[in-house]
Symmetry: C2
Subunit: 148 residues, 2 copies
């Protein structure tokens, strides 16, 4: 279904803010009801055309176990210097597709994945954005950016 101009505009605004901050804090719910977050590098070259965001992850990491129990996550993008804040509520999914992994791989990722893209433990996380809000000044009321 074609998106309206407003939807396209809000998707562009959202993606611009996300690319500007780039590192998300990804929050997951564990089996005890505790919320955990950790920094995760959004892949800018994966684009946002179909409303999805992409990350590299280790397939056996605690966050993957958590999201296999509760796949609804939050991504927050905060830049206190610029007073930009984004909240994304999304659905996360582990993707083990070697072609896609090679296509999205960049050398800078070896900081977290020293064995490179062919390590069988390296996988992708696909986050389908459900709702998102953003704030772009200290006094701004929330703006419904996307998905409402």
């Amino acid at each position: 279904m074609a998106r309206s101009a407003t939807d396209r505009e809000s998707a562009e605004k959202l993606w611009g803010m996300i690319k500007g901050v780039r590192i998300a804090m990804m929050t997951t719910l564990d089996e005890n009801g505790i919320l955990h977050s950790r920094p995760m590098a959004t892949l800018p070259h994966a684009g946002f055309d179909d409303g999805t965001l992409w990350f590299f992850t280790r397939a056996d990491s605690p966050k993957v176990h958590e999201l296999q129990e509760h796949w609804r996550i939050n991504l927050s993008y905060a830049d206190p210097g610029d007073q930009n804040y984004v909240s994304v509520s999304g659905i996360a999914q582990l993707v083990r597709d070697q072609d896609k992994i090679r296509f999205l791989w960049r050398d800078i990722l070896s900081t977290w994945f020293p064995k490179g893209p062919d390590d069988p433990e390296v996988a992708l996380l696909k986050v389908t954005v459900d709702q998102a809000e953003y704030w772009d000044s200290p006094s701004s009321a929330m703006v419904y950016a996307y998905g409402y």
Copy 2:
């Protein structure tokens, strides 16, 4: 119980990073299992001596309804410029104590609470830190900072 030197040191490191970023993204779980976050200004003058963090809030806001159902929240403090990231898992509690509200009030808060500290809708959120982790460089493995 007295804390060990290591606990005190890690609490000091944690509090230093939190004060440096100051604006948390506070993530709550709603009744449909969706995770929402929004920027919230930590009160630096409230201190961190007893392992609690303080925020002003509107008593009738969606986040308050969400945390009354599920009081376990996450606070993330991110500064992509300095590569500082903190994740706090904590328990939130609404506090309606007029003396404490007046004591913690600062004029800058009228950006969000234009009617001032005597508005009956103004309340405090107390977050008791349960566990926290921090990362202070892109390549840093997570450090168990507190509460483990």
